[in-house]
Subunit: 608 residues, 2 copies
């Protein structure tokens, strides 16, 4: 039996099977429902408000939701069985557009793309010159090409008609050595390229006019795979032992990329069939998912994926809706948890040619740390966990409207909310600032323990600590409270942040040790990634996420990964350099080091 | 309304639409009905015997068929409309298997194929060596490979599981630089290659064990495109302006090739998925058809096709049912009417390295002539027409059971019939011998005129000439006659043969002139092609098809084209050489020469 369910705010109607799980049904209908725990009922992110649909709560819902919430129709979609017609109202979900944070770093790069157009004017065939049409064109183009040019069947199937229509003159679109399309002589149609950065959470795309090298549009969108788990491990676990599920995630990702590329084309007023090449960066798991590869062994020791080398394949093989004979070039990765996005950051920030030690940190669920010196590049991956993205934090949320994004404990208690609205939760930067400030003010001690007024050491701390209350077995700090809403920072939230901070800081310490330098030798610290751009440098140092660097040494580099993907799109030399980087980098597997645990435990301490 | 028709001798039942054309319906059902005129009602080759089906004759049938034939149910399928249920009995059609005529020429060639297997034993991943699975395999294989090895997605999708199943040992099947498949360690499965020769009439296939270089099976089959026209021009005309028809012919051809390759695999007891590469030769039009290219401009001055260069494409793109990731390498052609089959003959007969002038002639609808000297290779194409294949000859037929294949006028009147059966018609070699012998005996004069007894110059000729009778406006020579059957050679048949002979001989004369040598300088004459192997050398010289060469200089080289295709399959150096040949050959366009017409007219004379 089919039951009609209206989905709000979109107003879309679905026909769902009676007895079906609501979360699964929504995901199957292509609705990107955030559920990082994969439907286990632990993340509480799939909380939706229903009317009708189902009347029975599960025990888990009774435990996790308040009586008031249940009364008001709040349910966990993963726990809800579709029983009757009704409405489901989804949590607001927006994507923080990467747009603003994009900038091409450093010097202008020269335009030397892999895809370009070449004008041709052929002599017409006569009895004295009977070269075949393709042979004639190929010989013409080979005058200015170092290698033999290649053709594919679809082009050969149309060449004779085109050449005669245009009196043997025209423009050849070449992708590498292959003549991919033919344009009429002096056609005004350009050649476009697309740079893609596939993040676990966010997909970003940059559209480039490959004839000028200019970025003509840039946009981002939520990775639709979020519905299958917030982090790479939960997605790997979801697809384990099932080719169908792997293909399902691949399909969702490619659908998302196709929507995004259509949008950047609309923004720029260009046709997607004019995109002849795409470069792709992303973490190793996302690249595996894009290619439909089994990422299982990324998640199992000794953490070995299928492929880290770069790969160039026809767009048609992936279903990416650029020109059907366009190509997709995937940049190389370094290791299972240090992906092509990190290679792109190294490329963009010119870390491969530094004369002084430089550090780059990409803060996320998986924090990548790069330490470059005059003669080597070291990388490490740190399992920071989802805290910076709001995962496993009671009121955690992404950096969207309603999120507390920065916090000041003194001289006056204040915070800012994205969109200047009522606070709804805490995003990664807000969480970091809360803990840093409460630590500085003495409400949280070095060990991360939240103190009651009576336990604090100053009147200032004691005053602030009045907001700390004991709730069940833990403590929590009340940030905001009115009749309907209450937002708190729990002791457990602080622990989660400590784990994240400790992991990244330990990564930095161990790379410095491995490079045989001192922290003070580091001349520049680059913060990359979407989150890195919202971080407060002073508080990052205060917290001990970063060592005690002078603030003027710390710089934000925006979406360095997108920058690198664009460089590899616009200039072949940069692409070659990316392969060189991935071959040259020395990856340090932290879990394999005897000094890891001791360092990590030490780095858990705040301020350290 | 559907009408049930039984097709004999196969006994297959078809459901045909009422009102449908019988010839078209049979072709659509995949039945290779010979109809060189393409359904115009002129070739009479689609004559079938029906019972039921249709009761009305067309005017054309009444004109072309005898009253007795009509009474006995003989009809032209192209003129017949399906009206009611019944049976249709097809003309007997067999293919003269190329098998017997195959032999690898000259010296043994060394085994150095493009597709081969490499054993690998990888170190297992550990924390200290986290190279990705593919990177690990690629680095291993690159130790012994000059170029970086490549992977395709389907292989990457299975590599992790396979490596772990086999403890990181196994066999990699490589096609060129690409790892195409993985076999378990010490697997006994071989690597096969397939050589294909696509003739206008016949498809031939050779199956090779690429590990030993041995030919393990060879077979041939009728080109199913025969149903759409006997010669290349009628097929080009059929597909003119219609992509659908082009695709239809391509589909039929590939179906035929797939049947054939399945058969050679069965003969050898091997699996078709173990074929990792195919090399293909054929005339230029057939290669265009295989690739689905528009061959229209081959037929229009200045006779320029789409592609003469060699081309290597994935088997999957053609639908050729070898290993799905296997490759198809099409050898280069020379000109629109001098195809890859001629390149293969030049390769097989080592004409590219001769120290003395040598001549090679492939006799067919299109007669290719090659003249190789110490410093150049000249080719010409001659429009011999269909006479040698039985086309436009009143009792012409292919060299199958019932065909008169050789003839002796004196000392006694005698002929041989293929299959020692009652004569049903005359095949190409029979036609040539009939005209040569009647010319020698004086029943046909130098101009090709058939003489009545009274016009002959000897009693012997006068006796033979009693078989010449005047029929309507022409004369004909009665070869065989009983109550039911009569087989004759008409004046018009002689004219057709003269055109064919004149064209080929003119080609030889003009190439000799172009090379600036004398006919007597030629040290060896090679006759290639299926027909070339059945020709009587003495009578070819007698007729003037060939100049007055001493017979010991004339050799048959079997299916030289297949031989060349096999060489290019077994040895990469030979494949490279084929490209070199096609670039080096100087093609002489006869129709462009001022001396062509005069030479051709002179060569029409018999004995000249």
């Amino acid at each position: 039996m089919k039951i009609r369910i209206r989905v709000l705010p979109t107003g879309r109607d679905l026909e769902l099977k009676a007895g079906a799980n609501l979360r699964t049904s929504l995901i199957e209908a292509g609705i990107a429902l955030d559920s990082p725990c994969g439907g286990q009922g632990t993340c509480l992110k799939c909380k939706v408000q229903v009317s009708g649909i189902s009347h029975k709560f599960t025990e888990l819902e009774e435990e996790k939701l308040t009586a008031e919430e249940l009364h008001n129709g709040w349910r966990l979609a993963c726990q809800t069985t579709v029983e009757e017609a009704g409405e489901v109202c989804l949590p607001e979900m927006e994507v923080s557009r990467a747009k603003a944070s994009f900038s091409l770093l450093g010097e202008e790069i020269s335009v030397q793309p892999n895809a370009c157009r070449k004008h041709f004017e052929l002599s017409e065939p006569v009895i004295g010159d009977q070269r075949a049409d393709w042979d004639r064109l190929a010989e013409y183009l080979e005058i200015s090409e170092p290698a033999p040019v290649e053709a594919e069947l679809p082009l050969l199937r149309e060449i004779s008609e085109r050449l005669r229509e245009w009196n043997f003159r025209g423009e050849a679109v070449m992708v590498g050595d292959t003549v991919t399309a033919l344009d009429p002589p002096e056609s005004a149609e350009g050649v476009l390229g697309l740079a893609l950065d596939i993040g676990t959470t966010t997909l970003a795309a940059g559209l480039v006019d490959l004839e000028t090298g200019k970025v003509v549009a840039i946009d981002a969108e939520l990775n639709p795979q979020i519905a299958f788990g917030a982090d790479v491990i939960s997605r790997i676990v979801y697809t384990r032992d099932s080719r169908e599920k792997r293909e399902e995630l691949q399909r969702e990702l490619i659908k998302g990329l196709n929507r995004l590329l259509l949008r950047v084309c609309r923004l720029a007023g260009r046709e997607r069939e004019r995109i002849f090449e795409a470069t792709v960066v992303g973490n190793t798991t996302m690249l595996h998912s894009l290619l439909g590869l089994d990422a299982l062994h990324i998640a199992l020791a000794p953490y070995v994926g299928v492929l880290n080398q770069s790969l160039s394949i026809p767009a048609g093989e992936l279903g990416l809706q650029i020109h059907p004979r366009g190509r997709v070039h995937i940049l190389p990765a370094i290791a299972s948890f240090v992906g092509a996005d990190t290679v792109a950051v190294i490329l963009a920030a010119r870390l491969y040619q530094t004369s002084v030690p430089k550090l780059a940190v990409d803060i996320g669920t998986n924090g990548e740390v790069v330490l470059a010196t005059r003669d080597k590049i070291l990388t490490a991956s740190t399992a920071a966990g989802p805290a910076f993205e709001g995962g496993r934090i009671k009121f955690g949320m992404r950096a969207i409207k309603g999120a507390i994004s920065s916090f000041q404990a003194t001289p006056s208690f204040s915070y800012t909310v994205i969109g200047s609205s009522m606070p709804r939760g805490i995003c990664g930067s807000g969480l970091m600032e809360l803990v840093a400030e409460l630590f500085r003010a003495g409400v949280i001690d070095r060990k991360g323990r939240m103190l009651l007024s009576s336990e604090t050491g100053s009147s200032l701390a004691a005053g602030l600590a009045q907001r700390v209350r004991v709730q069940g077995e833990g403590r929590e700090f009340v940030i905001f409270k009115d009749k309907e809403t209450e937002i708190t920072l729990t002791q457990q939230d602080v622990r989660e942040l400590q784990l994240a901070k400790g992991a990244i800081r330990a990564g930095i310490e161990l790379l410095v040790k491995e490079a045989n330098i001192k922290t003070t030798d580091i001349q520049e610290v680059l913060l990359a990634g979407v989150f890195g751009n919202y971080i407060n440098r002073e508080k990052a140092v205060m917290l001990g996420l970063l060592p005690q660097f002078p603030l003027e040494k710390i710089h934000f580099i925006g979406n360095g990964a997108m920058d690198g993907a664009l460089r590899a799109l616009i200039n072949l030399e940069e692409r070659r350099r990316a392969d060189e980087i991935s071959g040259r980098v020395h990856h340090v597997e932290l879990s394999g080091r005897p000094d890891f645990e001791e360092t990590f435990l030490r780095c858990l301490e705040l301020g350290a």
